[in-house]
Each structure stands twice: as C-alpha cells, then as structure tokens.
C-alpha cells in the first residue's frame, strides 16, 4: 500500500501515548492544523467542549509552537475540499460501532480513506484505531444499538485491531479469530504503531502483539520495524 502514513494508539492516557504523540507531531505540517473527530464519544454539547479542551491540551502540551486544532461534530456534507488541506486528522476514542457507522452513513469514511491514500497523516486512538482494521467485531460488545456495519477501513493488510490489550483478553481474541477468520494486532494502552506504506514501527512503552490465524502470539517490540510479507501473509521482522 503506497502513501499510507497512519498512527494507531492503544487507548491509554496522555502519558501512555506520549512517545507516539510526539512522533506524530514531528511528522505533520503544523501550519496546516489538525482536524479532530470526537464523534465516537457519547456526549452532549458540554461534553464536546470538554473533548475539544482535551485534544488541545494533549497536543499543545507537547508542541513547541502553536498548533491549530479544528473539531467537527457534524460530518454530513463534508467534501474533499474541506479536508484536503489539513496537516493531519485525529480520530478519538469512544464507541467503535457508533464511530464506524456514523462515518459510513455520512460518507466521511470514503473521504478519510482518500485522505489516507493520498498521503495524509491520520491518528486513530482506541475506537479510532480499531476502525482502521478489517473488522470491528474485536469489540463486538460495543454494539449496543444494533448497528449493522462492522467492516472497518481495512488498512492493516487484512488484520483487525484491538486496543486496551492485556493478556486477560487473549481468549476473547482467539475466539474472535476463530469466528471471523482474521488476524489481530493487539495494542496495550502504553503503545502504538506507525504504519508507513507496508512498514510498521512500534512506538511506546510496551510491545504490541500480533495474533495469527492459529492463535499464536508474536511480540512486536518497541522501536523495531516490521513489514507485511505479501507471500507469507504475515507480519515479519525487517
């Protein structure tokens, strides 16, 4: 996959994702600003103010200069012209099913994919990360309103993503693999991945984990680059 420049984080707090966030900010053209999408959150108007304050605090605390953050809570009628000039798009966490289904319903999912495949930098946190995988059924318990869509944007070579990982959910992941027949990348809260074309770099304080179709677990170590081998159909060391 060419031109992909994608960050996904495991869903921890500001301190947990500090290394990933700094890496992200260093890569973007800050003059173009960041577009923040908080709509995975189940909040009211006051809640969205709080979300906006949060993202600004998160990014401005680690940015040397001023970084303009725009927040959208209504994605209807958005066009390519509206988003193409942003330096990056940041998709926040919350309910993964709500997020994906809203992105699809509004047509924004297509715009987002176009942004990504045109080299635009995208950061997905928690729910924002999970939608980048093949299927969001890794968190099927979040489907509290009978949402119909579960196919994600499929940007990780046919892998699904799960966040907030710890080894207590290994069985859950293996059950998912047996049901959906998709491999899984599992991110603990203190880590994330940077995907550039077909190369993956783990950035954070803990390793990430890769579950293959047999349910075998491979550790993806911090600061090590991996790549997706098309022939072997798996993530390998570079």
């Amino acid at each position: 996959m060419k031109n992909i420049n994608l960050y996904i984080s495991g869903g921890g707090g500001a301190q947990d994702s500090l290394l990933l966030d700094k890496h992200f900010l260093n890569k973007i053209d800050k003059k173009k600003g960041v577009l923040y999408i908080p709509i995975a959150m189940e909040v009211d108007k006051i809640g969205f103010e709080s979300c906006y304050d949060w993202i600004i605090e998160t990014l401005s605390n680690i940015s040397e200069g001023f970084i303009d953050v725009t927040m959208w809570t209504d994605l209807y009628s958005k066009t390519w012209d509206d988003i193409k000039d942003f330096g990056a798009i940041y998709i926040g966490g919350g309910n993964t099913f709500k997020l994906l289904n809203y992105l699809l319903k509004t047509g924004f999912a297509q715009l987002l994919k176009k942004f990504i495949t045109n080299g635009g930098v995208v950061y997905g946190g928690s729910a924002g990360a999970i939608i980048m995988g093949r299927s969001i059924n890794t968190v099927i318990e979040e489907n509290d309103k009978n949402y119909t869509e579960s196919r994600g944007l499929d940007l990780f070579f046919g892998h699904s993503i799960i966040c907030h990982y710890n080894n207590e959910i290994d069985n859950k992941i293996i059950n998912y693999i047996q049901t959906d027949n998709n491999k899984v990348i599992a991110l603990p809260e203190k880590t994330g991945l940077h995907l550039v074309n077909s190369e993956i770099l783990v950035i954070g304080y803990e390793p990430a984990y890769y579950f293959n179709l047999k349910g075998e677990i491979k550790i993806l170590r911090v600061n090590i680059k991996y790549y997706y081998d098309e022939e072997k159909k798996e993530i390998c060391n570079l």
């Binding site: 909040v43 006051i46 103010e49 709080s50 600004i56 401005s60 001023f66 303009d68 725009t70 927040m71």
Partner: protein, 392 residues
C-alpha cells in the same frame, strides 16, 4: 398527544414514574403538543426554518425587553428565584476550560458535593462554545448569553412549574406557546466521568431551536445518594433574533466584516475582558486561536476590528462585570491581532524569501520597517499586502 412512553423505562425509577405522570399532566394542562425527537426532527425543523423563519413578525416590544437584563431578572425574582451573579467564563479544575452553559453554576453541588440548596436559581450566564468556531452563521456563535433557571434535587412539580414560568415569559416576549414545536428526548450525558440520565424538552420556534428544559437524574455522588437537577436554558441572542429581522450578531455598521469576523471579535472581547491572556496552551490558547482565525478572515483591519470589539465589550458589560477594563482588553487584542497578522504575512513572504525569520512580537508597522533590512522588495511586499487584504 403524539409521544409514547417506554413501559420498562417507567418501571425503573419511582421519580421517573412521577416525571412521566407529571409530564402527561403538564402537557394536557398547558394545552401543549409534543412529539418524540427522532432521526427526522432536525430535517423537519430545518425545512420549517427555511419556510417560516424569514416570515417571522417583528415584535419590537419583545426585542426591547430582551435588551434589558433586568427584564428577566425581575420576572424570575418575583417568582422567588435566587438571582445568581454570572460566573467568570474562566473555569479552573472543571470539566471544561470555559463556562459553556448556565447549568455549570451547579458544578459545586454535582462535582464537589457541596451541601445542596433548596433554592431555585436564575442566572444570565455568558458562555463560550468553541466547538462552533468553524460553523459560524446566523443563529450559531461561539459566545452568547445562556439565560437559565436551575434547581438541585427538584421534584417533578418543581421542574414543570419552572417550565411554566418560562412559557409565561416567552409569551410576554411575543413567542406564544402555540407557535412552539416541542420535542422530547432522553439522553445519557457524561460530564467529567459522571454518567447520568436526562429527560429533555426541546423548544423550537419557527424551526429554530431556542432552548431546552432538562430534568437530569441518577447523578452519581460518592458521599451521598445520587442527585438530580432541573436545568432550563435559552439563548438570549436566538430569542432576540426570533423577534426581529435585525441581524443575529447585532452589529449594523457596514465595514465588510463577515459573520465569522463579528463572532471572533465578540468572543475575543469576552475572553480579554475576563482576564485571559494569549498563549499556546490552556485558556490562552483560545485567545490566540480566535485571533489567528480573525486574521485569516479579516486580516489587519485594526480600526474596523477596534470598533467591533468595543461594541461587543459594551454588550458584555451590560450582562456581567468584566475583570479587565475596556482599554486594556482592547490593547491586548490588538497586540495579539498584529502578532498574528505578522505571522500570516511572514508565512507568505517565506515562500519567496529566506531571510524573513523576524520576531513577530512587534507592531505591524515595526515589522514592515524591519523588512526593509531584508531581501524583500518593496513592490513585491505591497503586492502581497494587497492580495492579503483583497482575498478577504
């Protein structure tokens, strides 16, 4: 009556039984009609707005009443509401950086679990909602006066009695209840990690949402039983706009300023007047952000923006006391505007010249003088300045 109740919902809470019974009784008694809010509501109200809002009658008497902060205050005082002084828009250690709703006068009760008062309260609260910074249009602004009544642990009778008070004052302004579209919905907000439930009355007038009445309950507390509140609020500017064809932003001089320009100036006046200082972080970030947006929208027009800012500073002081005097507030805004205009100009120049890394923290006049010592040709500079002004 067009709405329906969920049976299992009714079984859950005794106070909710009371709420639903009181709701039925209230709607019947007041001769109202209400519908469930659903996926089509916004679209239907949008269509109604396009059809009817421009045809609204001017009700000058109501408009004049709204210009006077004492009108609402006296009405609610007579109804035995405690008149609460508006809070500063700067919040510290709260769920939001700025006060974004009148209901936040209840923060001490909800979050700090302060001893609950039995009083019902009225406040005309200046608020900031930065989430609308990119959606500015008539009826949508980043700062406004949220006129609201609040009560902790209300009975359902208390809540509906307050709604009745509001219906009466809206009548007196010329917004008759028969012209209101009322929608009912439920929510489950999350305020700073506190998840609770609410029942909402939404009030639309000729397709424009003008306010809402919220009965919130099951608000978790750590030192006592869960609590509840009644929060009824309307936007002053939307009410005023509903009563007259005068423009929403209430600024009548024709100086080429767009609605965004007016909004940014209004919010900057409130920020600066409240003591916020521009910076790259925290509260000051918003000051800088609004100023930068203003320079993108209406670059460099010092005299025009000064007039607009002064106009809005006077507006705010009608409704609240500001910590920072008018002259100081204006100077701070001007300084920040010039700084950001300088940034805008240097960013354009840096595309053609490599020696324009000048400090932007000076007046624009000084910056232009400094540029004479660089490779920037005066003719080219004038062309760029003209382009910047004409683009906006």
């Amino acid at each position: 009556m067009k709405f329906s109740l969920e049976n299992n919902f009714k079984k859950q809470h005794k106070n909710l039984d009371n709420y639903n019974d009181s709701l039925l009784e209230f709607i019947k008694k007041e001769g109202l009609s209400a519908e469930n809010y659903d996926n089509d509501t916004e679209r239907i109200m949008d269509e109604k707005f396009k059809l009817l809002f421009d045809k609204r009658n001017d009700y000058e008497e109501g408009f004049v009443k709204l210009e006077n902060p004492n009108y609402f205050k006296n009405f609610f005082k007579e109804k035995k509401y405690n008149i609460i002084k508006p809070q500063s828009i700067i919040k510290k250690n709260s769920t939001t950086l700025f006060t974004s709703a009148g209901v936040q006068i209840l923060d001490d009760y909800i979050f700090d679990e302060k001893e609950i008062t039995k009083d019902k309260m009225y406040v005309a609260q200046p608020v900031i909602r930065t989430q609308f910074i990119d959606s500015i249009k008539d009826g949508v602004s980043t700062s406004f006066i949220n006129i609201s009544t609040e009560k902790m642990n209300p009975t359902t009778e208390d809540h509906f009695s307050s709604i009745k008070d509001w219906l009466n004052i809206l009548d007196s302004l010329g917004i008759n209840r028969n012209n209101l579209d009322i929608f009912i919905k439920k929510g489950e907000p999350n305020w700073g990690g506190k998840v609770f439930k609410n029942n909402i009355f939404m009030f639309f007038y000729k397709g424009l949402e003008i306010g809402d009445a919220i009965y919130a309950y099951d608000i978790p507390q750590s030192t006592r039983e869960s609590t509840s509140f009644s929060d009824i609020g309307f936007g002053l500017e939307r009410l005023r706009w509903s009563l007259s064809h005068k423009n929403y932003f209430d600024y009548n001089e024709d100086n080429g300023a767009s609605l965004k320009t007016l909004d940014y100036c209004k919010t900057l006046a409130l920020l600066s007047g409240s003591g916020v200082r521009p910076s790259n972080k925290s509260h000051g970030y918003r000051f800088r952000q609004f100023s930068k947006r203003l320079q993108q929208e209406f670059p460099g027009r010092i005299d025009s923006t000064k007039k607009i800012i002064n106009h809005y500073y006077n507006f705010w002081t009608k409704w609240t006391s500001l910590d920072n005097g008018q002259e100081d507030s204006l100077q701070l805004i001007e300084k920040e505007n010039e700084r950001n205009f300088n940034r805008l100009l240097l960013d354009v120049l840096s595309e053609s010249y490599s020696d324009v890394g000048i400090d932007i923290n000076m007046s624009t006049v000084q910056l232009l003088e400094s540029l004479k010592g660089t490779s920037v040709k005066e003719e080219h500079l004038n062309k760029i300045l003209t382009e910047i002004y004409e683009k906006h």
